[in-house]
């Protein structure tokens, strides 16, 4: 039996914080062989990234690694290495790809120079040779038109292209081990699939060991040989991927596996009257360009004459890649953004052109849940104040006690305990915060809720819970949703009808089942393929 390439034993990482010591990782062990992919799965906060950073000795300053932690890499114990020795190993023998390609590339250097730098640090060679090497790498990671790419800056590239540059950087010195920390989470679905197949091909051709950190089980199933499931800093299950998927032994793994959004929206009443009607919505942003003396303006049309109808009890999905104008349209319909044209009718009355004061009586009936639950709750207010705000502003509830009861009911609705009222938002996890944001909308007893990617900042297993919750609430309170998403799986589980948007235009619309099962346009076909078959 050969020695595994990387073997970590009993990794313990504690963080000292103001509120006490946090045991982020409590005795994790796993190993990876050459040419093998190990998937490390878990929700955010399970310690999977911290373990990977411990392997690279790239932990934050307040982290303490346990005494018995051993990290064997190719026969060498990395936990005893000095910082100088680690510098030789990092980027040369072990490299890492991070989640957010925009922030991991330096914006003021050309991407070619950034990759060349990594090569030159570890392998002395002339700049010219290094640039030739970069070109070869860019071809290998299938960047279109590599000769022009080398002299581009990161902001000139798309997210997927930047992630390809990151991969080229990671592969620059032919590492033995590649750690990919959620490499596709920040990318659009269609791009995710391409990046994953690229990683898989590269692993095969380089015979690398890969540690793939992810919360996406579909990715795990399609790409990994072995899997380690982590929760609360501990390994709860490990084994060959196929085996674990076929026969999960731990309840938590079973729960993760069952957390794919599923189910169908409950049928819509035939005679449901239209609630929110938007006709010929047009939103354009004025962009200034040219010099100081010959300033010119151009209109960037984000939403191009789109009409939609949401009927009472209906959920309308709006799907598209980032930049397709779906959020802009949603915000314009609920009048949080000024539209340049179009007619909006809510419950039979025109609401376009109303002033902010005139909109105020309608506000409780039209609510919104934002994408990022970390920025949508005021950090200086306790939960009760956050949910109560709408009640106070609109004069709902006669007394403080009555309002508190309404807040309590809203918390019950989103299945949060009532003691949450006295806490601050930072004490809750992402999924819990999103429940609180939904409770804020629900407390006003609205008819219509705009859901702006409410699940995309959350882990998969939490996404499914939120989707179930939204479906239950729709039935219970007779709500209508406009659901903006780029994730077709979620849309399939929740929406009756769907609109597919691209560059501000509608490319396809219809009943969800029809659009997703028999997409007519190439763009929709690409989206569907990316969502339901991860590897292209």
């Amino acid at each position: 039996m050969t020695e595994p390439l990387l073997k970590i034993e009993n990794v313990v990482v504690d963080f000292r914080t103001v509120t006490g010591t946090v045991n982020a990782v409590r005795g994790v062990s796993y190993e990876v062989n050459r040419g093998e992919t190990l998937a490390v799965v878990g929700e955010s906060g399970s310690g999977k990234s911290v373990t990977a950073r411990a392997i690279m000795s790239m932990l934050a300053e307040n982290a303490r690694v346990g005494k018995d932690t051993r990290i064997w890499f190719d026969g060498q114990d990395l936990s005893t290495c000095s910082e100088r020795q680690m510098q030789k190993i990092r980027g040369d023998r072990i490299s890492m790809i991070f989640q957010e390609p925009l922030t991991s590339l330096n914006p003021i250097y050309k991407v070619g120079d950034q990759v060349a730098e990594i090569i030159q640090i570890h392998r002395p060679m002339s700049k010219k040779q290094a640039m030739a090497e970069v070109l070869r790498l860019f071809e290998e990671v299938r960047l279109p038109d590599p000769e022009t790419r080398v002299s581009q800056y990161p902001h000139e590239m798309s997210g997927g292209q930047r992630q390809r540059v990151m991969i080229a950087m990671a592969l620059a010195n032919k590492p033995d081990l590649l750690i990919a920390d959620e490499p596709t989470t920040a990318l659009d679905v269609t791009v995710q699939a391409e990046i994953l197949s690229l990683l898989k091909d590269l692993q095969r051709s380089h015979n690398m060991a890969v540690i793939l950190i992810t919360h996406d089980l579909t990715v795990v199933e399609k790409t990994s040989d072995n899997v380690v499931v982590m929760r609360y800093g501990e390994v709860v299950e490990r084994g060959a991927t196929a085996e674990v998927f076929a026969n999960p032994r731990h309840a938590y793994t079973g729960h993760l596996l069952a957390s794919e959004p599923k189910g169908r929206p409950d049928p819509l009443r035939e005679d449901a009257e239209p609630l929110m009607v938007a006709e010929d919505m047009r939103v354009a942003f004025r962009i200034a360009y040219g010099g100081f003396l010959n300033r010119k303006y151009t209109d960037l049309v984000a939403v191009n004459d789109i009409s939609t109808t949401v009927r009472r009890g209906e959920t309308l999905g709006i799907v598209g890649e980032s930049g397709s104008g779906k959020t802009t349209m949603g915000m314009a319909i609920i009048r949080l953004l000024e539209a340049q044209g179009g007619k909006i009718t809510f419950d039979g009355a025109r609401i376009d052109g109303l002033t902010r004061a005139a909109m105020r009586p309608l506000r409780p009936r039209i609510q919104v849940v934002f994408q990022d639950p970390f920025s949508s709750l005021n950090p200086r207010m306790i939960v009760q104040q956050i949910i109560e705000e709408g009640l106070i502003v609109n004069g709902i509830g006669a007394s403080a006690a009555e309002r508190k009861e309404l807040v309590g009911q809203a918390l019950d609705d989103v299945q949060m305990p009532r003691d949450a009222m006295q806490r601050f938002p930072h004490e809750f996890s992402g999924g819990q915060r999103q429940r609180l944001a939904i409770a804020r909308a629900l407390a006003l007893n609205p008819d219509f809720i705009l859901l702006d990617e409410p699940t995309s900042a959350l882990d998969l297993s939490i996404q499914a819970q939120i989707i179930d919750l939204l479906r239950d609430l729709r039935a219970k309170h007779d709500l209508s949703y406009m659901f903006i998403s780029h994730d077709l799986k979620v849309v399939k589980a929740l929406c009756h009808n769907v609109i597919v948007m691209q560059n501000g235009n509608v490319v396809e619309r219809g009943a969800t089942s029809e659009v997703l099962e028999a997409p007519r346009t190439a763009y929709t076909q690409k989206l569907v393929k990316a969502a339901f078959n991860v590897l292209a």
Partner: protein, 371 residues
Amino acid sequence: MTDISLNAEAVKQGPSLGYWQLVRRRFLRNRYGVVGLIGCLFIMLTAVFSGFIAPYAPETKDRSAVYSPPQAIRIMAPEGGLSRPYVLGFREEMHPVTFEITFVPDETARQNLALFVRGDAWTFLGMTFDRHLIGTTDGGFVHFLGTDSLGRDVFSRMIQGTRITLLMGVLVMAASCAVGITIGVTSGYVGGRFDMIVQRVVEFVKSFPDLPLYLALVAILPRRAEPMMIFVMFAAILVLLRWADLSRELRGKVIALRSMDYVRAAVAVGASDRRIIGRHIVPNTSSHIIVWATYQLPEVILLESFLSFLGVGVQAPMVSWGTMLNQVRDFQSFAAAPWLMAPVGMIVISVLAFNAFGDGLRDAMDPYSND
């Protein structure tokens, strides 16, 4: 089924820590900042209870001791062994050749020290007291930091001067905060043309050479103006030139906060502008404002002492650290009585303390650090 709650994650138990509680904990871990805080408290207490701590009133003159050097507190009795703390008076001796007058401790003029002795009357919150922290048993004079040209006790004046100097600092800080917050927040929140005009005004104020303006104050104010009047005018001019920084910084913060989702959520529930500013925007800039204010205080203290030293700022009979330094303007008095420089020590201590406190606060209030 195991004990794992599968549908909802466990909600945190135990006491809930608010933002300010977290800030306090984080601050208390920073030793340098805590030392700064202690220093600030010490200075502020000195200012509040200056009448009690100072042995004499600022205008009390000891005619027998002009330019008398500091008296050291002694605890070793001349006959040997420990004794109660005492000071020795001075005997003037003239150098036979240079005729230079020197002060030599006089073994016979011994005065015992005591705590809580009676002395000059001082008022606090409208009440009059005559007890002082320290003094001599028989009511004679003691000058820990010597005396000035009129025989006034430098130590007492320095303690009393804390009051005016700090009052100036707090006044200028509070007023420029009020102006800066109002203008900065409105400018950032309203935006558009109003913002454009306000920002040009801010730039104009910031481009103004401040020193000539301070000096021009002397020319503007009538020669016989009340010292209190000059004090207020002086503070007003400092405020006029200081609010601009804060308002510009806040404007940037407000523009960033205005597009936060929680502000948009407040718009979506129908909240008014007033409520959004008061409940969502200003509380989230409070840490910035507090840190700015802590850094302002030492700057104003330095500026006050500098300008009063030039004779432009606070005017006699008001006592501030700057006006005390004004007495050492010429080199002769500096060479003859270096102890008149004592307020410099207080200025250095207070500036260091407020800056250390400000640094500690800034680190503690960083919302992104969780260490």
